[in-house]
C-alpha cells in the first residue's frame, strides 16, 4: 500500500529515480534477502538498509531496467543480507578484510596478458574467483563506482576496499596468465 508520502507524487513523470528503482526491484531484492536470511522481517530490514546505501549513489544509475542496474541492486542486497546474516550468527571469525592483510602479498605480475584476450577467456577466469572478488570488480568496472563508494556499500574501510580490489585484479591477471602461458 502506498503511504502518505507517495500521495505527494503527482504524475508519472515526477516519479523519482529512487521510486522507480524501488517499484521495479523491491520484490526481487526482498526475495534475494529472504533467500539468504530465511526471515521475512530481517529481509525487510535488509531491503531498507540496501536502499539507504543506494540513495547515495543514484547518480551512477542511468537506466532503471537494464542488466547493469539489476546486477547492482542484487549485489547490494546480497551484501547487506550477508553482513546481517554474519552479525546475527555472531561469528567471531576473523573478517576477510583482516585476513587479507595477513596473507602474504601475492606475487606481482608485470607481464601483459595476450592481446588476443577475449571476453570469454576473462569470463571463464572470473568464474574461478572468490565471490567477494567478483562482487568488488563488478561494482568497480560494471557500475563504475569509486573506491570510496564501494567501501560504503561493502561496509569496509576505504583502504580495505582498495586492497581487495587490487588483490582481485592481481588474482584475475594471474589466472589469465596461467592459461596464456
Amino acid at each position: 500500500m502506498l503511504n502518505f508520502y507517495l500521495c505527494l507524487l503527482d504524475t508519472e513523470e515526477e516519479k523519482s529515480k529512487m521510486e522507480e528503482l524501488y517499484h521495479t526491484y523491491k520484490g526481487l531484492m526482498l526475495k534475494v534477502a529472504f533467500d539468504i536470511l530465511k526471515d521475512y522481517d530481517l529481509a525487510n530490514d535488509a531491503l531498507h538498509n540496501a536502499f539507504l546505501k543506494i540513495a547515495h549513489h543514484l547518480n551512477k544509475l542511468d537506466e532503471i531496467q537494464c542488466h547493469k542496474t539489476k546486477a547492482y541492486m542484487v549485489i547490494v542486497i546480497e551484501n547487506v543480507s550477508k553482513t546481517m546474516y554474519n552479525k546475527r550468527k555472531k561469528q567471531n571469525t576473523i573478517s576477510f578484510d583482516e585476513l587479507e592483510y595477513e596473507i602474504e602479498d601475492i606475487k606481482n605480475f608485470e607481464e601483459d596478458v595476450s592481446s588476443e584476450l577475449t571476453v570469454q577467456i576473462v569470463l571463464d577466469k572470473i568464474k574461478l574467483l572468490p565471490d567477494i572478488y567478483k562482487e568488488i570488480l563488478t561494482l568497480k568496472y560494471v557500475n563504475d563506482l569509486s573506491d570510496k563508494s564501494i567501501a560504503k556499500i561493502l561496509e569496509i574501510s576505504n583502504s580495505a576496499a582498495r586492497k581487495r580490489l587490487e588483490r582481485a585484479r592481481i588474482k584475475l591477471t594471474e589466472l589469465i596468465n596461467k592459461e596464456q602461458n
Partner: protein, 234 residues
Amino acid sequence: MKNAISIPNDILSEALLRYQNERIDNKYPLTGEYNEQMEPNKQTEEKINRLIQLEKKPYFILINTIGKRVACIIIAMILAMTTTVLSVEAFREPFINYIIETYEEWSTISFNNSESQNSEGIVLNEIYEPSYIPEGFTKTFEEELSLSYFCEYSNANNEIIVYQQNLLNNIQVNIDTEATVTEKIYINNVEAIFYENKGQNHILLKGDQYVFFIAGNIEKSELIKVAESIEKIK
C-alpha cells in the same frame, strides 16, 4: 611496483556483466514480477518511501565528492561571478567557502572545507540537534548515517519540521530557489540564509564542521528559535 591490470577495461567490464547476468538470471530470471510474490511490510514501505520523498524534496542533500564535480565547479565559479539573479544573492554573500551554481528554478551550493580537503574516512561522530521544538511537535523520524543526521518532527495537523546535520566536507546542497526571496539572517551571531518557498520556511546554517538545514511550515520566528537552539547532544 604493483602492476596495473593489463586486461582492457572494456573486456573486463563486459565479462563481469555477462557473469553477473548469467548468475543472477539463473537464480532470479524475473525482475518486476517478484513484486507479486514478495511484498515489503508496511514499516519498510514507509521507511523507503521517506527516502523517496527526501530525494524529491528541494532540500534533499546530495553527498558528492568535489573531485567528481570539477567541471561543474569551474562553470559554477563563472556563474557565481557573472550571474545577476538577485533572488539568490544572499547565498553568495555569507559564506566564503562555497560555490553556487544557479539555474532557473534551483541552485546548487557546493561547500568546501578548505581545512580538511581530504574527507576520506571522515564520518559523523558528533550529533547536534535542536533543543527547542514548537509545542505540539514530536520527533517522528530519525536517521543517523555515516555523513549526516536527519530527523523529522510532526504535529497533529501533519505539519512537519525537518532538521539535517551534514558534514561540511565536500557536500553539495540543492535548493529550490524558484520565485524565492532569500534573506541573510543571524543565528547566534552567525550568518545564515533564510528563504521561503512554497509555504515552507528554510534556514541554512554553516558551522565550522557541519552544515545545518532546518525547514518547516512554521513561522519564521519559530524556525529561527529552532535553529538557535541547535546544540551538541552526543
